[in-house]
Every structure is written in structure tokens, then in C-alpha cells.
């Protein structure tokens, strides 16, 4: 069991390293060279001190002592310079690699299907894409080089100690092995507690994020106390986790202190013995002592790198988990969709969100290209679900959906989404300019076209009020835009593309009848050579429909040509019309 664990652990580091560090190998080589030079200097300096002490014991010239001191200082300064240059290179590597990782992670998340996004708050995704990747920054930039470098430093010291006396060399080797073993053991305890803490952190920021968005509701309904209580409950959960996580670090620091004191004691014992028996010089005793002290740095460095590795461990596991999350929607091979208006066909489609009650039940539907379908039904009857299936945000459990004769599962998702446009009543305005919100950063759409569309939709007057025209910044979630205007902007997005099927999911629900009428002309123009599915509550909206389909609990209640159904008094449709009429006459 444990064996395979270490194997996957090593394997996952190897994979990540290979993919992200390899492109940076030029810089890594430079870093390595700098590091080796630095190590060399660190090994030489103590020799200078030994020479100094021994020469000072004898009553010789003062000159060589001064030379030795100056040389020592010179080497120190050079080492300082090297470390600054090394920082530049290692930071660069760190940022380049983590940026690439972030982009890959974000791109992967964006490609995941709706069921993933509905179950993860954007706050927790920020913790993952930014927080977890940040934890890896050190790993990429300097950890590998430092670990290898420090290992070489340790080996260098051992070799030089063996040169003095086999006893001291052997003693120090045993000491180092013991130190490394002890630190490894402690790590096994510390990693899981750190993961627990990061998870709690992600949840906490998910909670904060949601409430920063919903301040209006909370304020006006006097629910601030409730939110604060939730906050306190989270704190109570988080404190013990944090204490445990930090005790993990504490254990690691303590282990290295203890082990290190043991090393000093060993050095004292052995060098004292050698002093009394083999007549080594005082300078050599100091040399041994100095090298033992010098071992502290690499072991310390290894310890702190281990701590970072601990954080990286937890983060790498979470990142791999994220990458491994496959979209339930697999891209098709690339069957082409025909040009022009697209016909729609649902054949025996059954779908349920959670595997329990089906939202759609053996649904059949046929729409000719260029026709307009009006989809009616109670809320929750499955109307929006049909739209989501058409855009392949989900796949039906049974049955198939054809678009222009092609099974949408075999089309490329990108093609599908280019040819099918959807307008909903969700406000999805991003922080950015008006232009960005309308074109989604597509530079190929000319400004003149954008303004033309805005005017067609009756947003001309609104456009005139914008202080910076299309460059005006809009706040996240719409800000000072009224909900109706935000919806018109969503329409404008569709007009700027060239779909073969337009789905309008209660798209004009926030518009007053007057504005809706004004838009009618533009919508008529839009639908001229396109198919359309209109999901609506308001009967006036489905006025232009050729066909009507009424859904109830996922099954087709009634379907047929609009005119026929309206004329037949026993049809559900005409009953609905009568209800609508009542509200006018009341």
C-alpha cells in the first residue's frame, strides 16, 4: 500500500516537472551553475579560517593573517552577488511555470460542463486556480535546484571531513542519515493536517464570496445576524484545524533542532577524542565544528523546502484532481452542421439532473428549418432543460438530439455553440468594457456593427448616455444597468453572431410591453432565415410561433400548429389564451 503511494507521489511530481519545467531548461542550467559556484565558495571559506587559527597559534607574521581575512571577505561578497542574480532567474522560472499552470487549469475548468460549475462556487475555484498554484510557485522556482544543491553541499562537507579523519567522517554521515530519516517521518504526519486546513479555507472564501454578492437581499430582509452566525460557525470549525496544521510545522522545526543539537554533541565528542589521541591542531577542531555548523544550513533548507513541499503536496493532489475531472460531455468527432437555418429533432429524449425523477420523459419533437417553436409549460416542467440539452451543457440519458440532421453528440462543441445562440434572463455582465461584454473579446467585430445593432434594439438612447462610448466600463453583475437593459445587451450579443438556431429562454421577461414591441422588428429581422425556439410564459411572446409545444412534468401535453390549437376551444392552448385574456379584462 505505502509503496504504491510513494510511487504515485514521485510520479505526480515527475509529470508536473516534465510538463512545466522542461521548457525553462535554459534558465535552469544557468541557475544550476550559479548554485554550484556558491557551494564551492561555502566549502572553501572554513578552510581559510582553519589556516588562520593555526597560523595565529604560531607566532609568525601578521601579513598572512590579514591576507586570509581579506580573502574571506572577498569570497563572501561574491557569494552575495551570486545569490541576487540567482533570485532573478529562479523567480522568473517560478512565475512563468505557475502562470502556464494557471492558464491550463483555468482553460480546463472552462471546458467542464455545467454540472461541475453548479456545484463549485467561484470563491472555491479561485482558491484552487490561484491559491493552490501559488503554493507550487516555490516548488517550481527554486526547490529542485536548492534540494540538489544542498545535497551536494552536504556531500562536499562529508568528503572534506573524511579527509581529516575517517572517524569524524563516519560519525557525521550517520548523523546526516538519521537527520534526514527523522525529517521524512515527521512529514508523513504533517501533510494531511495541512490539506484539511486548506479545504476549510476554500469553503470559507466560497461563503464570503456568496454573501458579498447577495448584500441587497440580506440588508433589506434584516438577515445580517444570520450571516454573522454562519460566519462564527465557520470560525469554530476552522480554529482547531489551523492549530493542528501549525503544530505540524512546529513538529518539523523541533525535529531539526533536536537532531542538530545531537550533531553538535557528536562533533564535540569525536573531536575531543581526536585532540587527546591523535594530536590534531586546534584549527582542525574548529574546522570540524564549523563544518558541523555548516551542515545546519542545508538541513534547515531541506526542512523549509519540505514544508513547502508539504504545502505543494496537498496542492498538487488537488490540482491533479481538478485536471482529472473530466467533462461528462465528450467532444464529438466533428460532423459538420449545415449552413443556414437548422432543423431540430428530439427522439425519445429522457433526462434527469440527479438520477431520480426525470425532468424530460421520452420527449419527441420536430422542428423544420426556419420555423419558430413556442415552448410553454409550468415552471419546472423542463423547458429550460431542453435548451441546455441543445447546447450540450448536459447529455440526455436516453434518446438523441439532431440538429440540421446531425446528431449533436458527433459535432464539435465549438461548432455547435457557434451555430446555436441562446438568450436567457440571467444577467451575465462581466467586469469590462461595453464592447468586451458584447463581443467577448472578439476583435473582428467592427464598432460600427455594434452600434448598429444597439440602435436596432432600441438601445441607441442608452448608448448616447455612455461617457466613454463602447469603452465605458461596466461593473460585474451589471451595476447601474437596469435588469431590462442588461437583457437587451444579452440580445445584442446574439445579433452580433450568426447562428442557425436561436433559443430564447424567457428572454423578454424583464422587458415592458412597449420595449418588447420595439424590439420585435429587430427580432423579426434576426429570425428571417433562422430557426427559433421560444420558451415563454407570456402568450404575446409566442404570437409569432408556427408551432406550439406544451410540456408538463417533462412530457408533451399538447403539440401542433399554433393556429390550429388556438382555433380549437378544447385545446389546452386556447384555455391558456383565455386565462391570459381574463387578466386583461379584469
Amino acid at each position: 500500500m505505502q509503496r504504491s503511494k510513494t510511487n504515485t507521489s514521485v510520479q505526480q511530481y515527475y509529470e508536473i516537472m516534465h510538463r512545466y519545467l522542461l521548457p525553462q531548461r535554459g534558465t535552469l542550467i544557468v541557475l544550476a551553475l550559479l548554485l554550484f559556484t556558491s557551494i564551492g565558495m561555502q566549502l572553501i571559506n572554513p578552510q581559510i579560517i582553519r589556516y588562520f587559527i593555526d597560523t595565529a597559534q604560531s607566532l609568525g607574521d601578521l601579513q598572512p593573517l590579514i591576507m586570509a581575512a581579506v580573502l574571506f571577505i572577498a569570497f563572501s561578497l561574491i557569494q552575495q552577488l551570486i545569490s541576487v542574480i540567482a533570485t532573478y532567474f529562479s523567480e522568473n522560472v517560478g512565475w512563468k511555470t505557475t502562470n502556464t499552470l494557471r492558464v491550463d487549469l483555468a482553460a480546463h475548468c472552462l471546458s467542464l460542463d455545467m454540472s461541475f460549475h453548479k456545484s463549485h462556487t467561484s470563491g472555491s475555484l479561485i482558491e484552487r486556480v490561484d491559491g493552490d498554484v501559488n503554493a507550487l510557485a516555490n516548488f517550481f522556482s527554486s526547490m529542485m535546484i536548492n534540494l540538489v544543491g544542498n545535497l551536494l553541499l552536504m556531500i562536499g562537507i562529508i568528503v572534506l571531513l573524511f579527509r581529516e579523519s575517517w572517524m569524524i567522517g563516519a560519525g557525521m554521515t550517520i548523523f546526516i542519515l538519521f537527520a534526514v530519516y527523522a525529517i521524512q517521518r515527521i512529514r508523513k504526519f504533517a501533510v494531511p493536517v495541512w490539506t484539511g486546513w486548506r479545504q476549510a479555507n476554500a469553503e470559507f472564501y466560497g461563503f464570503i464570496g456568496e454573501h458579498l454578492e447577495g448584500t441587497e437581499d440580506v440588508r433589506a430582509n434584516g438577515a445580517a445576524g444570520f450571516v454573522m452566525n454562519r460566519f462564527y460557525a465557520m470560525l469554530r470549525r476552522m480554529l482547531p484545524l489551523r492549530v493542528k496544521a501549525f503544530l505540524g510545522f512546529c513538529a518539523m522545526w523541533n525535529t531539526s533542532i533536536f537532531v542538530f543539537a545531537l550533531g553538535n554533541a557528536t562533533a564535540f565528542a569525536i573531536s575531543s577524542y581526536l585532540w587527546h589521541t591523535s594530536n590534531i591542531s586546534l584549527g582542525t577542531v574548529y574546522l570540524i565544528f564549523f563544518y558541523t555548523e555548516l551542515l545546519a544550513k542545508p538541513i534547515e533548507k531541506i526542512r523549509t523546502q519540505m514544508e513547502d513541499l508539504q504545502k505543494a503536496d496537498a496542492s498538487i493532489a488537488r490540482i491533479r484532481e481538478l485536471f482529472a475531472t473530466r467533462s461528462a460531455i465528450a467532444d464529438g468527432q466533428g460532423e459538420p452542421l449545415p449552413k443556414g437555418p437548422l432543423g431540430v429533432q428530439f427522439r425519445g429524449v429522457t433526462f434527469s439532473y440527479d438520477g431520480d425523477q426525470p425532468t424530460l420523459d421520452h420527449l419527441d419533437l420536430k422542428l423544420q428549418p426556419g420555423e419558430v417553436l413556442g415552448l410553454l409549460g409550468r415552471t419546472g416542467s423542463g423547458k429550460s432543460t431542453m435548451a441546455r440539452l441543445l447546447l450540450r451543457f448536459y447529455d440526455p440519458q436516453q434518446g438523441e438530439i439532431l440538429l440540421g440532421g446531425a446528431n449533436i453528440r458527433s459535432c464539435k462543441l465549438a461548432d455547435l455553440r457557434k451555430r446555436v445562440a441562446m438568450v436567457t434572463q440571467n444577467i451575465e455582465i462581466m467586469q469590462g468594457t461595453v464592447r468586451d461584454n458584447l463581443t467577448f473579446y472578439d476583435d473582428s467585430i467592427a464598432d460600427t456593427r455594434i452600434i448598429e445593432v444597439l440602435q436596432d434594439l432600441g438601445l441607441g438612447a442608452w448608448y448616447e448616455t455612455l461617457p466613454d462610448g463602447l469603452d465605458t466600463l461596466l461593473a460585474s453583475g451589471g451595476g447601474s444597468l437596469s435588469a431590462g437593459e442588461a437583457q437587451l445587451l444579452a440580445f445584442a450579443r446574439v445579433f452580433l453572431t450568426d447562428p442557425g438556431l436561436v433559443i430564447m429562454d424567457e428572454a423578454s421577461s424583464r422587458l415592458d410591453p412597449l420595449t418588447e414591441q420595439r424590439m420585435e422588428k429587430a427580432v423579426s429581422k434576426l429570425l428571417q432565415s433562422r430557426s427559433c425556439i421560444m420558451i415563454a410564459h407570456r402568450l404575446s411572446t409566442v404570437q409569432r410561433a408556427d408551432h406550439i409545444l406544451i410540456l408538463d412534468h417533462g412530457k408533451v401535453l399538447e403539440s401542433g400548429k399554433r393556429e390550429q390549437l388556438a382555433a380549437d376551444p378544447s385545446s389546452r392552448f386556447s384555455q391558456l389564451l383565455a386565462t391570459g385574456l381574463e387578466e386583461v379584462l379584469a
Binding site: 574571506f72 522568473n92 512565475w95 494557471r102 482553460a107 472552462l110 471546458s111 466560497g206 464570496g209 454573501h211 458579498l212 448584500t215 441587497e216 437581499d217 440588508r219 433589506a220 430582509n221 434584516g222 438577515a223 445580517a224 445576524g225 444570520f226 462564527y232 470560525l235 469554530r236 489551523r242 492549530v243 503544530l247 564535540f268 586546534l282 574548529y286 565544528f289 409550468r378 415552471t379 447546447l391 451543457f393 455553440r417 434572463q425 462581466m430 467577448f440 472578439d442 448616455t465 461617457p467 466600463l473 447601474s480 431590462g484 437593459e485 450579443r493 424567457e506 421577461s509 424583464r510 410591453p513 412597449l514 402568450l539 404575446s540 388556438a566 383565455a578 387578466e583 386583461v584 379584469a586
Partner: protein, 602 residues
């Protein structure tokens, strides 16, 4: 509030814990004094200069005992530190959250939620870090004092000549860190941009996927990441340059000692043991100076963090951040989930008057101007008008969700000074145009802390036409609805928000566009039940649905931010062109839909 005051107030939040923490860490930092002396003893014993008569084994025993003592102290120190830091950091977050929740609901934070999270997370972490390091500085100062004393006793000249230049060099480097603040602010800003971008990306996934804009959005993200890299490298390089001076000072100091000690060692006035002690303490003293430097850096970062946090407060005093408040970490004191403190007395509404109310959005200068209206008890008033005419703005400004620029509001003739606090249950309850649901059970989403009284929840569900939907949910009312409550359909979300409003007994119910996502039949039921239930509560509704307009006692028609006309629907149909257009549109009434005739244009 200066940064120092900020730090002081953070420390004073839990002074006892801070003091205990400081004592623990002071002793921890003093601990290395002993091993230093033991090392000197060892070398002196070899050359025969030993003061104490211990052999090698005695010395080793002394060393290990001191080590074990230090280990125990460190465990204690970690525990005290983590408890102190947690409380301090969470106090800041608590105060920030509470303040944000008290702001006008529609203008609660000046930045996007994603950026605000970066404030909550990183700026508070920085403040915590600086405060925690202050403890370390304290401990290290004690070590520096004690060790300096010991070293001066051995050789005063050496101590001064070695340490003084070091201190000067390092202090000079310290002064150079003034430039650090600029780079730090730049790098924090670029991080916030990246965080904000991630938040936007994942908050609007559906729109991005529908528009097929994934590649472009990612490309933009890549560019922002690169900008951040450049800012961060500048920041790090500056820090490292100064850090290297601090960390190399041990070697430089050792070199200085070598320069000066040569003669004295030959003369025998300076033993190898003394040399070992000097170098040993040198390590710690330079560590001390570099850590003081680090602390000063953290302190400067803290002032950047303070600035950014203050910005989030939108004008409130920064003192608010550090006000001492209870964190309820002790379970026994846990306030109940249902606590809903009554902030003001329940005053039944007789009349609500608004006079000359105006508000304009700072970035677009659109809004409402000079609004005057009166609501009598029990009336059902509808605010209508074309899109963008200011209906939602009117309602929000009245309720204090937007801070009004001008105007007077009077409740039963008494002026209302703070509408944001006044217009909450039991005075009024509100349903926003865009329902916001939270990751919690459906029950909690509706109650939001409201105490459940004698079936009030059931009544609210009935009035909001939600009973059937609840029956169909797998866990009923205890179903957890996902982030932003999106596992519910649009109509269900809207009705949940309505239930949330209705479960609260209020004098005035305000709802904005309640039925946009509802089908005709459900809408009818909703209005009917709403009417049955409301008794003589007063209602103010924003709508253009005929179901609402037909029932209204009084209709207010808005256009371009001003009230254009008022009256009953019959009056307005005769007198107001805007209302006629709203009612009929550009074509004949809905009667034609039934006949299937094409729309007639006027």
C-alpha cells in the same frame, strides 16, 4: 489611523494572549545564549582555559538539556501564536463583513466580489503576519541585549568594531526599503486583477461557453498573468537585494573579526573559545537585524494592506476594522442560529411620504430625480414604466439600498433618518429583482435567521406557490440548494425569494418584478394568494404585468427617472400616452392572439 495605531489596536484586542505569546517567544529567542556559552567552554577546556570544571561529557549533557528545554518552549510558543493570530485575523474579517452587510445593499462594496475576496484574504493575512512578527522582534531584541552584554565583557573593542559597522550597513539598506512600498502596491494590484479575472470567468461560465469565447478569455487571462509576473519580479528582486545584505552579514562579520583578532590571538588575550562564541552569537545577532528588517518590511506591507482595507470601507473610519468584538469561538457562547435581534420598535404604518427624493449613479449619472409619492395604509401601489426609467432605482433608494442624494422620507409624519436600517423587518420586507440564493438548505434560504412562528413558513410557501415544488424536491425543505441556488429553476428561485419576503411579518412589502419568470397560471395564483394573505399590509410593487396593474389602487408611471403620471389604471389609460403604450404596446390588445390575426400596427 496610522499603521502603528493599527498594529497597536490589533495587539490590544487580546492583550493577555499577546503578552503570553511575547513571553514565550522571548524565552525561545533567549535560549541560544546557553549553547553559545557551552561551545566556548568546550574550546576553552581543550586549551586549558576552562572556567567550569566539566569534562566533555558534562558539556554535552548541558547542551542536550538546553535543547530539550528549547523544544518544549517552542511547542508552547506555536500554540500561543496560532491562537493569537487566528483571533486577530478573524476579527478584521468579522468587522469587514459586518460593515459590508450594513452598507446600502446595492452599493455594499466598491469593487467586484472577486477582488473583494483578495482583500479579505491577502490584506488581512499581511496584517496578521506583521502583528505576529512584532512578537518575534521583541524576543530577538532581548537576545541582542543579553548577548551584547556577554560579548562586551569579553572584549569591548572587538564588539564595537565588529558590530557597529554591521549595524550601519544594514540600517542603510533598511532605509533603502522605502522604495519597496511602491513595488509591493503594484504587485498586490496585479494580483487582485488576476483574482478578479478568475472570478469573472467562473461567474459567467455559461455566457462564455454559449458564446464560444473560451479561447479569447483564456488569452486575456494569460496576458494578465504575465503582467503580474513582471510586477512580482520587480518586487522580489528589491526584497532579495536587501535581504542578501542582511543574510551575508554573518560572513562579513566573521571576516571583520578575523581582521581584528589576528594580533590578539597571537598575544593570547583572545582565545579560540572567545572566537567561537563571537561567531556563534554573530549568527543570531545578524539574524536579529535581518528579522528586524523583515518586520519593518512587513510593517510597510501592512500599511499598504491597511490602505486597501480602508478603501473597501467606502468612507468609514479605519478604526472600525479593529473594534473589539466577540468572535464566539467558545461553543457555549454560540448565539443560536435563529437570532434575529429586533433593532427598532414595531410602528404600524399609517402613511408613508416621500418628497423630493433623488439619486444618481456615480459612474453613469443616471438615476431618479425629485420623486414624490405617498402610500396609505393597506394600499397596493404599482410603479411601472419603460426599461431604464428608474423603477428599481426608486425602490432601492427608498429602502436605503442606495444612499439617497436628496429627499425626505416620513413614516407616519416622523422623518426617517437612516432608511437602510429602518426599512427592515418588521417595518418592511423586500424581494429583489434578481433573486440571490445561498449554498444552504431551502429552509434556511427562506428563513435567513428568522424565527419560525406557528406555521409562518408553511403560509409563506403557500402564498409563494411553492408547496408543490417543495414536495418534489428530494429532501423537501432541507434540500441544499447549490451555489447561487441554481439547482432551482428560474421561476422557483424567484418564488423562493418571494417566500423569503413573505415569511417576515412586515408593514410594507416591496417587490421588484416578482413574476417575470412565472408562467401565466402560476402568476395568477401568486397574485391571488398574495392578496388574500396580505391583510392590510401595504404593498409597493414594480411591475408591468397586467395582473398587477389591474389590481392596483394606485399606479405610478416613471419615465427617464421622473414620475410622469399617477392614478388608477382607468384614469391613466385615458390620460397618459406612456401608460397606453405600456399597456397596449404598438399594436392591438392580446385579444388578437386568440384570433390568430397578424399584429396591426398603428
Amino acid at each position: 489611523m496610522t499603521t502603528f495605531q493599527y498594529l497597536w489596536r490589533l495587539i490590544m484586542y487580546k492583550p493577555l494572549r499577546y503578552v503570553i505569546n511575547a513571553i514565550a517567544w522571548t524565552v525561545i529567542y533567549l535560549a541560544p545564549i546557553i549553547p553559545g556559552l557551552v561551545t566556548k567552554e568546550f574550546f576553552d577546556s581543550l586549551t586549558g582555559n576552562a572556567k567550569l570544571g566539566y569534562g566533555v561529557w558534562g558539556i554535552i549533557a548541558l547542551l542536550m538539556a538546553a535543547t530539550l528545554g528549547r523544544i518544549v518552549l517552542i511547542i508552547i510558543g506555536f500554540i500561543t501564536d496560532v491562537h493569537f493570530r487566528f483571533r486577530m485575523g478573524m476579527l478584521l474579517r468579522r468587522n469587514l463583513l459586518e460593515h459590508v452587510l450594513k452598507q446600502p445593499g446595492a452599493r455594499a462594496i466598491p469593487v467586484s466580489p472577486g477582488e473583494a475576496i483578495s482583500h479579505f484574504r491577502d490584506d488581512v493575512d499581511q496584517s496578521e503576519e506583521a502583528a505576529s512578527w512584532s512578537v518575534d522582534v521583541f524576543g530577538m531584541t532581548c537576545f541582542a541585549a543579553v548577548s551584547s552584554y556577554i560579548l562586551i565583557r569579553i572584549d569591548a573593542q572587538m564588539t564595537l568594531l565588529v558590530f557597529l559597522p554591521l549595524v550601519l550597513v544594514i540600517s542603510a539598506a533598511q532605509l533603502a526599503t522605502a522604495r519597496l512600498q511602491k513595488y509591493r502596491a503594484a504587485s498586490r494590484e496585479s494580483t487582485a486583477k488576476v483574482t478578479g479575472e478568475i472570478s469573472e470567468m467562473f461567474g459567467n461560465v455559461q455566457a462564455i461557453q454559449v458564446a464560444g469565447a473560451e479561447k479569447r478569455v483564456i488569452e486575456r487571462f494569460r496576458r494578465l498573468g504575465d503582467d503580474r509576473r513582471k510586477a512580482m519580479i520587480k518586487d522580489r528582486l528589491m526584497t532579495e537585494l536587501l535581504d542578501s545584505i542582511f543574510s551575508n552579514s554573518v560572513n562579513l562579520g566573521t571576516g571583520l573579526i578575523l581582521l581584528l583578532a589576528g594580533q590578539k590571538m597571537r598575544a593570547g588575550t583572545f582565545t579560540v573559545g572567545d572566537f567561537a562564541l563571537f561567531v556563534y552569537y554573530l549568527t543570531f545577532v545578524t539574524q536579529f537585524i535581518s528579522n528586524v528588517g523583515k518586520f519593518i518590511t512587513y510593517f510597510k506591507q501592512m500599511s499598504v494592506a491597511l490602505e486597501r482595507l480602508t478603501f473597501l470601507l467606502q468612507g468609514a473610519s479605519a478604526k472600525m476594522l479593529t473594534m473589539a468584538k466577540e468572535l464566539h469561538l467558545d461553543n457555549k457562547n454560540a448565539p443560536s442560529d435563529q437570532a434575529a435581534p429586533v433593532e427598532h420598535l414595531h410602528t404600524p404604518l399609517k402613511r408613508l411620504d416621500v418628497d423630493g427624493m433623488s439619486y444618481s449613479y456615480p459612474d453613469t449619472a443616471r438615476g431618479i430625480a425629485n420623486v414624490q409619492l405617498s402610500l396609505a395604509r393597506g394600499s397596493f401601489t404599482v410603479v411601472t414604466g419603460p426599461i431604464g426609467s428608474g423603477k428599481t432605482t426608486l425602490v432601492r433608494t427608498l429602502l436605503g439600498l442606495l444612499p439617497k442624494d436628496e429627499g425626505r422620507i416620513a413614516w407616519n409624519g416622523e422623518p426617517v433618518d437612516d432608511p437602510g436600517t429602518f426599512f427592515t423587518p418588521p417595518q418592511s420586507a423586500y424581494t429583489a429583482q434578481v433573486p440571490r440564493l445561498y449554498s444552504d438548505t431551502l429552509r434556511n434560504n427562506i428563513l435567513l435567521g428568522q424565527a419560525e412562528q406557528e406555521g409562518s413558513l408553511q403560509q409563506a410557501l403557500h402564498a409563494a406557490v411553492l408547496e408543490e415544488d417543495v414536495a418534489q424536491l428530494p429532501g423537501g425543505l432541507d434540500t441544499v440548494i447549490g451555489p447561487r441556488g441554481v439547482k432551482l429553476s428560474g421561476g422557483q428561485a424567484q418564488r423562493t425569494a418571494a417566500a423569503r419576503m413573505l415569511v417576515r411579518d412586515a408593514e410594507l412589502y416591496v417587490f421588484d418584478d416578482l413574476s417575470s419568470a412565472l408562467d401565466v397560471e402560476t402568476e395568477q395564483k401568486l397574485w391571488e394568494r398574495m392578496f388574500q394573505r396580505r391583510g392590510d399590509a401595504t404593498c409597493l410593487v414594480v411591475s408591468h404585468r397586467k395582473a398587477a396593474l389591474a389590481r392596483a389602487d394606485h399606479i405610478i408611471v416613471m419615465k427617464d427617472g421622473r414620475i410622469e403620471a399617477e392614478g388608477t389604471s382607468a384614469e391613466l389609460l385615458q390620460n397618459s400616452t406612456t401608460f397606453q403604450e405600456l399597456w397596449y404596446g404598438d399594436e392591438a390588445p392580446a385579444a388578437d392572439v386568440a384570433a390568430g390575426e397578424p399584429a396591426k400596427t398603428k
